[in-house]
Structure formats: structure tokens, C-alpha cells
């Protein structure tokens, strides 16, 4: 099965790293295949930026995301800009602290989107004391909600991806995100 994931946010939120962790988890630790791509150029600086990951049980041929099954929005601008081609019955995960789902209510209803709220920025600030780990909190929420990667793989991938010495804080952030949703 091929799952297309898009993570959108603003520059500096670490959406690229979040996507790399998803891809790494899938293909280095879950025995799946994955390709990660991202937008370059003017739009990657400031404004909305996005990172996309295709995860599959078999080889990923066409590497780009066409219609995401899962869309994670970490900023309102990204939410509005990148929701447009989310699949019918797809999954939307938003950070309620940085987005307003009412802005895309029409799309959600029209396409029967399942919406999950994961207050990643607030959790990162309140529970970890580090706003910058909001992306890792979000990876925890994605893991729990979508099960597209396993928890074990995610932890290994985080340990392998974050700067040395910050592993513990990041794992804590992941766990906090994982606990955000039932």
C-alpha cells in the first residue's frame, strides 16, 4: 500500500526534519520503502513550506506526492495553501495553536476529511520547555494517529536524526506527542 503524507508549516518549524524522520523510520527501521521530497526555491524561505513523504510496502516508483492521504498543518497559511488536493476521506492533523480549521471547514465537509487536533506547539512549550521541538511532538501525534510508522522505528529514527546531546529531550517530545491523542 502507498501512503502519501504532506507536512506543511512555516520556515523554521522543522517540517523538513519531521518528514525525514517519517521516511527514515519507514525504510531503515520498519522494513518499508520511502521517498522524501520538499519544495525548494523562494517559497521555502519564510511563508509556507512543505515536506512530502511517500511510504509504501513495495518499491516507490513515482517519488512525488500527488494527492496526500495525510496532511499535517503546522501553520494556518500552510493549511489553506496545501489542503487543496488532500484525498477524499483523508486525514488532516492540525496544531490548533497555530491553525484555525474553520478556515477550511468547507473543504473538510465536502471531502469527508477526518480531523485531528494535536497542540504540538503548546505541548512543546509547556511540557518540554522548548518550542522548537514542536515538530517532534507532531511526529509523535502522527505516529499514534496514522500508524504509518511504528513507535519503535520512530524513536530510533529520532535518535539517529537529531543533534547529539538532544536525543533525550526529543524522545520526551515524541512521547508527549504520542500521548496527545487517543
Amino acid at each position: 500500500m502507498r501512503t502519501e503524507i504532506r507536512i506543511g508549516g512555516f520556515g523554521g518549524q522543522g517540517v523538513i526534519l519531521a518528514g525525514i524522520i517519517l521516511g527514515k523510520s519507514a525504510c531503515l527501521f520498519d522494513g518499508k520503502e520511502a521517498v522524501q521530497t520538499q519544495s525548494y526555491g523562494p517559497e521555502a524561505r519564510g511563508g509556507a513550506s512543505k515536506c512530502e513523504v511517500v511510504i509504501s510496502d513495495s518499491e516507490v516508483d513515482y517519488p512525488k506526492v500527488l494527492n496526500p492521504d495525510i496532511f499535517i498543518a503546522m501553520s494556518n497559511e500552510a493549511l489553506i495553501k496545501y489542503i487543496v488536493d488532500l484525498k477524499d476521506n483523508g486525514t488532516l492533523i492540525v496544531d490548533p495553536g497555530t491553525t484555525d480549521v474553520e478556515d477550511v471547514r468547507e473543504f473538510i465537509d465536502e471531502h469527508n476529511i477526518s480531523v485531528y487536533e494535536a497542540p504540538a506547539t503548546k505541548t512543546a512549550t509547556d511540557e518540554i520547555g522548548l518550542k522548537i521541538v514542536a515538530n517532534i511532538v507532531m511526529v509523535g501525534a502522527i505516529t499514534k494517529i496514522t500508524r504509518v510508522i511504528s513507535k519503535e522505528a520512530a524513536i530510533k529514527a529520532i535518535e539517529a536524526s537529531v543533534p547529539k546531546g538532544t536525543e533525550e529531550k526529543n524522545i520526551k517530545a515524541f512521547e508527549a506527542g504520542y500521548a496527545l491523542v487517543e
Binding site: I20, C27, L28, E33, A34, T37, Q38, Y40, D61, Y62
Partner: protein, 376 residues
């Protein structure tokens, strides 16, 4: 133990270069190839290698030729505007039979066009970009793994034939991240040092091959020039015979070894009415499109060209032997298409699906072409 990494194509290229023995890199920043330079700037000093950021791409091409004669496997990486600037020195490398590797991560072109978007518009520049007659070798990777593997292969071929080798990648392959497996028994071709003798000729007329090449400082006191030269390397510019022999040999050493150099991959071509031919990034879409077509019961196959240059005409022709129609998918308005047409036009109708704008053609777009052409 084989190791696995989840990395960018450009990082894989840099990793491949180091694995192949590259110890000198000179380059100039240019999107979308810059990560190759950045990775090598970080990694080369860890293995006793040298990294130089040159003042421009002309200087980069010159520096790696100097580096190669200095005894180091040498590489540069660039994109369209840079490859344009390098052409004169690339011609010098062909003429002086200097092994170097040139990586071109192709972007939208001509001119500066689309720095962050993919294209395959430099294929003919790899073939004919410098003035005069010569036979280049070029490899086109379609995955991050292949970007790693083909970079190693490029170094091996460069050493084997004392020739510049191009790795013609594109923005899609350069920037995406995938898993690569790095085996611990990678085959590396080391440069052969000539034996010290009074009869040593650095540019000897050896049939189908090359003379071993010394490094400067080895005591051979050789003269290397871009002028037409005799077997000693001495200029002999007005002698038609000297020029003819030299250029023929420079071409023949590649052309006469095509069966060893050329490589394609093909699938489902035996009974295919339509064969889709591509190379580099678009292969990814073609493979998916052809699988979908087959699942729908259509007689479609594909050919993936690993080595656009020298063009594997015999192999492509053979793979397409039973096809009625051939579709060449490439990210330009027709470059390798003409090569496929030249090789196959007697037996099949060759069509071009040229895609520009910067985005990979989607599998559905290719399917549409298959249906349109196959339905004729």
C-alpha cells in the same frame, strides 16, 4: 557489513565519490547541485582529501584536471549554467586524456531558467558541448542508490579509459531522499602507474585502449597539451596524420568498448507493442505507468538507459525489436529522442514525450500517451 542510509541524492553522490577514491573536489556553488560540494567540503578532510571552492566553473574544471595530474581522483559538480562554462576545459580533458568526473544536476534551462526545478536539457551538451570530435561517457541515475553507484562507476570508467565521465543527474534525483545500501566490497578501479622505461610514451597509440598515466612528480617529465600532439605529448599541430591518429584513438577507445561501457535495463519488452524509453528521473514515472498498463492487460514495456553516452544503440534496438511504437520520455523538447529514433526508426515509430516546466511527468500522463499512441 552493508550499511543503510536515508539520504539525499546529492549526499549519496558525494558519498559515492569518496567511496570511489575521490580525494580532490573543486567546484562553485550552484543550485541544485550545491549539496554535493557542501557534503564534500565536510567529508573530504576526514579522509585526507582536499576541497577547493573555486572562483567560477571554468576554474573548477581546470582545477580538477590539474588535480588529476597531481595524482588525485578528481571531481566537480554543477548544473546547466556551470556546465556551459566548463566546456572548454572539458574538451581539454578529452584531448589530454585526463580522468575526471563531472556531475551535472540538471535544472530548468536554457540560461538560468529554473534553478530549483528538474530538467534534462544538458544531454546533448554532455555529448557535443565542447568543440571538436570526442566520445564522452555519461551515466544517468534514476534513484538515490543509483546516484551513489553511478558516481563510483563514473570514477572507474574515467580511470579505465583515461577519459572525463559525466554523471547526468537531475533536480529530482539530486534533492530527494531515499534509502541507500552501501556494500562493504565496492569495486574500485585504481589508476595504473606506468613502468619506468626510456620508451615510455604517455599518449601511445594503443589499439582500443590507453597508456598508463603517471602523476606529475613521478619522474616521467611528461608534457601535456591541448594542442594536437604526438605519442610523446609534443605539439605537432600541422601534421594531418598526427591529428587523425590521435583523435581516432581518443574516440575509438570508447566506441570500441561500448559493449563493456553501455548499460540499459528493460522490462516486459518481449511481447510489447509499445515500449517506453527513458533515463534519469522520468524513469520513476515510466516504471509506474508501465506497471499500471500491464495490470490493465496492455502490451507495454520499458527501457531504462543507464548510459546515455555512448548511446547504447544496439541494446536499445534489441530491446525494442518487437515494438510497433516507441515513446521516448525525457525532460526536454527532444534530445535522446533523436538517438532512439536513429537506432529504431526502421522497425518502429518513435514518438517523443518531451516534458518541460520542471515537474516529473506523472504516471497518468505517460499512460495517456501510451493509450493515445497504442490506440493508433
Amino acid at each position: 557489513m552493508a550499511e543503510e542510509f536515508f539520504i539525499q541524492g546529492n549526499e549519496a553522490c558525494a558519498k559515492g565519490a569518496i567511496a570511489a577514491g575521490c580525494r580532490f573536489f573543486a567546484g562553485y556553488p550552484i543550485t541544485p547541485s550545491t549539496e554535493i560540494a557542501e557534503t564534500l567540503a565536510r567529508e573530504l578532510p576526514k579522509v585526507g582529501g582536499s576541497f577547493v571552492q573555486m572562483e567560477d566553473e571554468i576554474g573548477s574544471a581546470g582545477a580538477i584536471i590539474g588535480g588529476s595530474w597531481g595524482g588525485a581522483k578528481s571531481m566537480t559538480a554543477t548544473s546547466g549554467p556551470g556546465i556551459s562554462l566548463m566546456q572548454e576545459n572539458i574538451g581539454y580533458a578529452f584531448m589530454s586524456e585526463t580522468p575526471i568526473v563531472i556531475v551535472d544536476v540538471q535544472r530548468g534551462s536554457p540560461s538560468t531558467a529554473q534553478p530549483t526545478m528538474a530538467a534534462q536539457g544538458d544531454m546533448m551538451q554532455a555529448r557535443w558541448g565542447s568543440h571538436g570530435d570526442y566520445e564522452p561517457i555519461a551515466l544517468s541515475p534514476s534513484s538515490v542508490q543509483e546516484f551513489f553507484d553511478f558516481t563510483i562507476k563514473a570514477f572507474n570508467l574515467a580511470e579505465e579509459y583515461r577519459v572525463p565521465v559525466f554523471v547526468m543527474a537531475d533536480e529530482v534525483i539530486g534533492h530527494m531522499r531515499e534509502k541507500i545500501v552501501v556494500e562493504d566490497d565496492i569495486e574500485i578501479v585504481a589508476r595504473k602507474r606506468p613502468e619506468k622505461s626510456d620508451n615510455y610514451l604517455p599518449f601511445e597509440n594503443i589499439e582500443n585502449g590507453t597508456t598508463p598515466m603517471p602523476a606529475f612528480g613521478d619522474g616521467f617529465n611528461i608534457h601535456v597539451t591541448g594542442l594536437t600532439h604526438d605519442e610523446r605529448g609534443y605539439p605537432d599541430t600541422n601534421n594531418p596524420e598526427t591529428h587523425d591518429k590521435l583523435i581516432q584513438r581518443i574516440c575509438d577507445k570508447v566506441l570500441n568498448n561500448k559493449d563493456k561501457i553501455c548499460s540499459i535495463k528493460s522490462k516486459d519488452c518481449e511481447d510489447a507493442d509499445v515500449v517506453v524509453v527513458s533515463y534519469g528521473g522520468p524513469v520513476r514515472s515510466v516504471v509506474e505507468a508501465v506497471a499500471k498498463a500491464r495490470a490493465d492487460g496492455k502490451k507495454v514495456g520499458y527501457v531504462k538507459i543507464d548510459t546515455p553516452w555512448p548511446f547504447p544503440d544496439e541494446q536499445v534496438k534489441q530491446a525494442c525489436a518487437n515494438a510497433k511504437d516507441i515513446i521516448v520520455v525525457e525532460m526536454n523538447l527532444g534530445q535522446m529522442y533523436y538517438e532512439v529514433d536513429r537506432a529504431c526508426k526502421r522497425d518502429a515509430n518513435v514518438h517523443l514525450m518531451g516534458v518541460i516546466g520542471g515537474l516529473l511527468p506523472t504516471p497518468d500522463e505517460i499512460l495517456e500517451q501510451i493509450d493515445r499512441i497504442g490506440g493508433n
